[in-house]
């Protein structure tokens, strides 16, 4: 199996989807001949023509409104927002339109074909506006699906599933992994399930839960904890919406302890939702309070980015706090 990076895996998924179905279109700012500022759409215009892969004017609300219209018409748009930090002009189109299209029309119309891709997350010296993780804003919106892959294999399989899913999907790509994360990826078509978490490592003493780029951070913390003799179970949530409560609850019923981590600020972050749901299901089995290791409640900084990020040392400390409660 060839070893490729996450960008190449995403490019492969788009290529497969466009080859298979003429209705699949890829567009966004700089997406056409240039292949996107991160080159995720490289060569797609050459292969499939300017009518199916193209640059749009610089207007996020326009891109998503246009994509909603295309999806309602029966096309399968894969719209790129250049950075998740710049998705907010399209917030109205996503929250009031994409998410509610099917519901408000009694399923006369839907935009299920729509996939929105956006590079997201920090750790690249991006400061306030090239670092944010806005999944929680959208998780508050019934009707959307939200997916975050952790490595190239996951990215390809989840993106293909997202494009073919009957509901609109927000696909957040941890950009710090784009070239840094490499792995074996089958060249052929395959899909991974939406809405299902994956236990990436089994253990007995404590459950660690995250998604996207936090998974490798968790792995580093687990390495430290296991040297102390702690047996860790690790779960990649993969889909933020709908999220796989059963897999997480089952794990916590076994370990009695849970640490959740995300880069976004703590207050209103998705860890809060998970903690609430899990204490409902596992209250009598919890050995200690559920720990959240997150960004602090400030905008994303630059010079002190390292201090801000929920890194392996902070997760390791949370593991110890949970165990010694």
């Amino acid at each position: 199996m060839p070893t490729i990076n996450m960008l190449q895996a995403i490019n492969q998924a788009l290529d497969i989807a466009m080859a298979e179905d003429d209705k699949v279109l890829c567009f966004g700012e700089d997406v056409g001949g240039f292949g996107g500022v991160f080159r995720a759409t490289s060569h797609l215009q050459e292969k499939y023509g300017k009518a199916r892969c193209f640059n749009t004017p610089l207007v996020e609300q326009g891109i998503i409104g246009f994509a909603n219209g295309l999806a309602a018409q029966g096309s399968v748009p894969v719209a790129e927002i250049q950075f998740a930090d710049y998705i907010f002009p399209a917030f109205d189109q996503i929250v009031n339109e994409t998410a509610k299209f099917r519901y408000r029309s009694g399923d006369l119309f839907n935009v299920g074909g729509l996939t929105i891709r956006a590079p997201y997350g920090g750790g690249i010296s991006g400061g306030l506006y090239h670092s944010q993780s806005p999944e929680a804003y959208f998780a508050h919106t019934p009707g959307l699906k939200i997916v975050v892959p952790r490595n190239p294999y996951e990215a390809k399989g989840l993106l293909l599933a997202a494009i073919r899913d009957p509901d609109p999907v927000l696909f957040f790509e941890p950009k710090r992994l784009y070239r840094a994360s490499t792995g074996e990826v089958p060249e052929e078509d395959y899909q991974l399930p939406l809405g299902e978490a994956e236990v990436t490592k089994e253990g007995a003493d404590i459950t660690l839960l995250g998604w996207g780029a936090q998974m490798e951070v968790i792995d580093r913390a687990v390495e430290m904890a296991e040297k102390d003799g702690v047996s860790c179970e690790v779960i990649d949530l993969r889909s933020i919406l709908p999220w796989d409560e059963d897999t997480v609850a089952e794990s916590v019923l076994k370990t009695g302890r849970l640490v959740i981590t995300h880069e976004a600020p703590r207050t209103g972050g998705f860890a809060g939702e998970i903690a609430a749901a899990i204490q409902e299901r596992c209250f009598l089995y919890l050995e200690s309070p559920i720990q959240r290791v997150t960004g602090i409640d400030t905008p994303f900084p630059l010079t002190l980015e390292k201090e801000y990020l929920p890194d392996h040392l902070k997760i390791y400390e949370a593991i110890k706090t949970s165990l010694h409660y």
Binding site: D85, P89, G127, Y129, I296, T298, E307, L313
Partner: protein, 402 residues
């Protein structure tokens, strides 16, 4: 007011009715175009403009090199657009508000932002006014009336309309200029801003730097119309298109625009036709989307060289003075860069300030927990640990100086 005139034939307008000419004064050899009239620009002001243009070029060249050396995380050049940015800023009152996009460091240089001030922001050190929070080139200066840069595109345009409306109410005879690229003009914020300015008669100058590209996207893929200028007609707004590499045309057009804005409360759109000679940013490689030949053709229209030739023709500038200025600026850029690089990062306490006017109890609690963690692993957080170590902080203070 909507017209009530009627016609009884189904004739459409095609959108091609208006083609807006480009106002040009100075040709590339430093002489005025036939029939063109120069602005009333005295020697001292002309040299102040020229000095800012050269300073911007020197700063940009050196800092892009510093980025390539890994000394800086990111950089953006104004190269090729100095006349558009500085010529327009110079036509304003120095107390007028400037709301820039991100490529207008020349306007700040013109207003007197020092190299030390540039460098402190670029290196995000403890003296950066923005406290090391934003990426390089996100400058701001309250004393120079330059709003701190925000990366999201076009958000500053409707804000400029609001700021200018406030200036009108304050009655101080000031206006706001807002800069943006032809790409950003596609955002919804642009349209909202122009319409509101026209409706509410705000003294604002919308200055579009049409530099040909929004990152890789050429302007022909950005709009089907004759540039950005014709949009003003839809909002019933004064508009002019100028040669953006022609400092005299830019200056004179902006001077007149300012009079319309301040004396008659009429907003104005200026579209400056120019070219982004450098990459979009240090993260970009233009060879993927445009030819060297095209770049060379624009390099031959260098706005700085054009002004230099004009200044020499006036007898206001010489090759010797040029060389002395270049040498002086290069030396100063290097010195200030070294100084800024050595300065410590902002203290860890600044992580939670300015989120609100006062630090909330919850944020204080998060900061305390973070400090405790950093003390436990100081080697993992050298920047944060620095301000927690009294010995280090003391030494930094000793090195302070200016």
């Amino acid at each position: 007011m909507t017209t009530t005139a009627q016609t009884h034939r189904p004739d459409f307008l095609s959108g091609d009715e208006y083609s807006i000419p480009t106002y040009a004064v100075l040709s590339q050899d430093g002489t005025l175009h036939d029939g063109a009239e120069g602005p009333d620009l005295e020697r001292d002001k002309a040299l102040r403009i020229y000095h800012a243009m050269v300073a911007t070029r020197v700063l940009d060249e050196r800092m892009m090199a510093a980025q390539r050396q890994g000394r800086l995380s990111f950089y953006m050049q104004c190269t090729g657009e100095e006349a558009a940015v500085i010529g327009s800023a110079a036509a304003l009152d120095d107390a007028d508000m400037i709301m820039a996009q991100y490529r207008e460091q020349g306007a700040l240089a013109y207003r007197g932002f020092s190299f030390d001030e540039f460098m402190n922001q670029l290196f995000g050190n403890e003296l950066d006014y923005g406290k090391g929070r934003q990426m390089p080139i996100h400058y701001g200066s309250r004393k120079l009336h330059y709003m701190t840069i925000s990366s999201p595109l076009a958000t500053q345009i409707p804000q400029a309309t609001g700021y200018a409306y406030g200036q009108k109410l304050a009655g101080e005879g000031l206006c706001t200029i807002v800069y943006f690229g032809e790409g950003a003009a596609s955002e919804g914020d642009f349209h909202a801003a122009l319409n509101m300015a026209a409706v509410h008669e705000a003294p604002v100058i919308f200055f579009c730097r049409n530099n040909g590209y929004a990152i890789s996207t050429p302007s022909v893929e950005q709009f089907a119309a004759d540039g950005v200028a014709p949009r003003a007609l839809g909002y019933r707004m004064h508009v002019i298109r100028v040669d953006g590499n022609d400092v005299l045309a830019v200056y004179r057009a902006t001077e007149k625009a300012r009079r319309l804005a301040v004396e008659e409360n009429k907003p104005v759109l200026i579209e400056a036709m120019t070219y982004r000679l450098a990459a979009h940013s240090s993260s970009d490689d233009p060879s993927g989307y445009r030819s060297r030949k095209e770049e060379d053709a624009w390099r031959a229209k260098d706005p700085i060289r054009r002004m230099q030739l004009w200044l020499e023709a006036q007898g206001w500038w010489s090759e010797d003075e040029e060389k002395a200025l270049q040498d002086e600026l290069r030396r100063e850029v290097l010195e200030t860069m070294k100084r800024a690089e050595k300065r410590p990062p902002p203290a860890i306490d600044t992580m939670v300030t300015d989120v609100y006017a006062d630090v909330t109890p919850a944020l204080q609690h998060q900061l305390d927990a973070l400090k405790q963690h950093v003390r436990r692993y100081p080697e993992a957080y050298p920047r944060g640990a620095r301000s927690l170590d009294p010995a280090l902080s003391h030494r930094d203070a000793d090195q302070g100086g200016d």
